[in-house]
């Protein structure tokens, strides 16, 4: 996973093609088309998906990322929704995790008992997407309460399927915008465990999946160091380390080999804007 540095500057070598996130030649800031941080997050998430993988998809950015990947480098991605749709090929942008467009033309409809037992607990899900109101230093996620459980300041929706996705997916990708409220040192409540939860590490606690491999934010990518702590691993174009640090509620480690993330290409942007979310339902943010 590499070591971390603290000087806050990206490594010079990160401009070389071999170190860009997509593996294609880097693009100089002046060449790149205009794009929003949200579009960048969708594009970055899409790149994390390999052709043929089985992905547990959520609504919003994860759905856009998966369908962008399907339309570009991963045409055989298998999209599974916790609602039961397997191999979904939605003809419109799904606005709920149980949208009828996820069923029509899908490969299979499974009962939720099968989705959780025979697909997820069985170890068949390669990638899971997670997000939430709070993500902490170890990649733990809170979607339950702000404040105490018994007397919450803000009651959030709760786990849904997130706890078990966090435990069972072979790897997870967290998507969340930086900010001190979103990235506290410790979450108020661990809904979905990351690398080090109360009680021990994932392995000690018997979690089958590898946990969050990347936290995709609006400014940078964080990755877990071997001890489970999230570190700054890659910066988006034009972002400084200090900007990222300012959005995180703990002293953030910075990797020595800090990478520079390539912006979305024109084709991906066109797909996102014209085909996948023409009304800007999720991209407008």
């Amino acid at each position: 996973m590499g070591t971390s540095r603290t000087d806050g500057r990206p490594d010079r070598q990160t401009d070389s093609p071999a170190h860009t996130e997509s593996g294609r030649p880097g693009v100089r800031p002046s060449d790149r088309p205009e794009y929003s941080p949200t579009e960048m997050m969708a594009a970055v998430a899409a790149r994390e998906l390999r052709d043929g993988e089985v992905v547990f998809v959520g609504i919003g950015l994860p759905n856009l990322a998966c369908n962008l990947a399907r339309a570009t480098h991963a045409p055989n991605l298998v999209l599974i929704y916790e609602s039961g749709a397997v191999g979904a090929v939605p003809e419109r942008l799904p606005v709920s995790i149980g949208d009828p467009a996820l069923v029509t033309g899908s490969l299979m409809v499974a009962s939720m008992a099968d989705i959780f037992q025979s697909f997820l607990q069985n170890g068949r899900i390669e990638v899971g997407f997670l997000g939430g109101a709070q993500v902490d230093r170890y990649g733990n996620i809170n979607t339950t309460v702000i404040g105490s459980y018994e007397r919450p300041k803000v009651r959030l929706p709760g786990s849904g399927g997130a706890a078990e996705i966090a435990i069972h997916a072979r790897r997870t990708l967290i998507i969340s915008r930086l900010g001190l409220r979103a990235f506290p040192e410790r979450v108020d409540f661990i809904t979905s465990p990351g690398h080090v939860a109360r009680g021990g590490s994932r392995r000690e606690l018997g979690m089958p999946g590898a946990g969050p491999v990347k936290v995709i934010t609006d400014k940078a990518i964080l990755e877990a160091d071997p001890d489970g702590e999230l570190a700054l691993a890659a910066l988006y174009p034009g972002v400084t380390t200090d900007e990222v640090r300012a959005g995180v509620g703990w002293p953030l480690r910075v990797r020595d080999a800090l990478r520079c993330v390539e912006p979305p290409d024109a084709g991906s942007l066109r797909l996102l804007r014209e085909v996948l979310d023409p009304d800007g339902l999720y991209l407008r943010g």
């Binding site: 009828p100 069923v103 409809v109 959780f116 709760g158 979905s192």
Partner: protein, 301 residues
Amino acid sequence: MTSKVVTMRDAIARHVHDGDTVVIEGFTHLICFAAGHEIIRQRRRDLTLCRLTPDLVYDQMIEAGCARKLVFSWAGNPGAGSLHAFRRAVEGRGDRPLEIEEYSHFGMVARFCAGAARLPFWPLRDYMGTDLPRANPLIREVACPFTGERLAAVPALNPDVTIVHAQRADAHGNAQIWGLLGVQKEAAFASRRVIVVVEELVDESVVRADPNRTVIPGMIVDAVVVEPWGAHPSYAQGYYDRDNAFYVAWEDTSRDPARLRAYLDEYVHGVADRREYVAKSGGLDHLRADEQVCGGVNYGY
């Protein structure tokens, strides 16, 4: 066999009592708002409401004062915001307290599986490293008698009554569902009483022509209610689409208790039945489904 077809009013009057544990299931798909509204109209009280996703239907029932307790795993307005009646109650800003018992989706699914199998618990590999067992002492552990491994365990959920919406059923309640199946089958088998609400009542011969499509057998069904559009604003695959605008608008409606109550007064208390609700909602024809009919299969031998 005598028909089990009754009106929604009679079904709720007979099978849903104050203090009951009530399940109106359906994951996004086939959520029986018609039953929820009738329960509100009949002013049931002290219900323990269970659902994976309370959704708008339980937000309405909470505001209406039907609920003593909520058992759930995800309490949001899917894709559109919060369930504000729920939040007011849990955040201590509401008119009355609401007890909660919280799981993850898998935990709720497992509870229904145990209930359907009439086992006292269900094992699952889950919850390690989460704070959920701390919040809910009914999430426990069980040791495997072969490997010694400690697994999570949740208790069976056996509701007094489960209400399942289906695309079609015959008069005895043999119900066929396609599209998302959620935990409808498990919830029905777990329940003491079952009400099946359908878009369409069909002859038994329609059911018997494709028996693999049957999800709930009539032998476990107590009442059949024929209620077209009964799942609106959720949807029924092949019948009508989800009314997303309604879900989006709910964010503002439910945030303001006065507006929410005005909604209940007009669309629930202000109508006698589902037919009037549909008329008041403008007919809902814009949501009617396109035709995309699959082929049949051969059951010959």
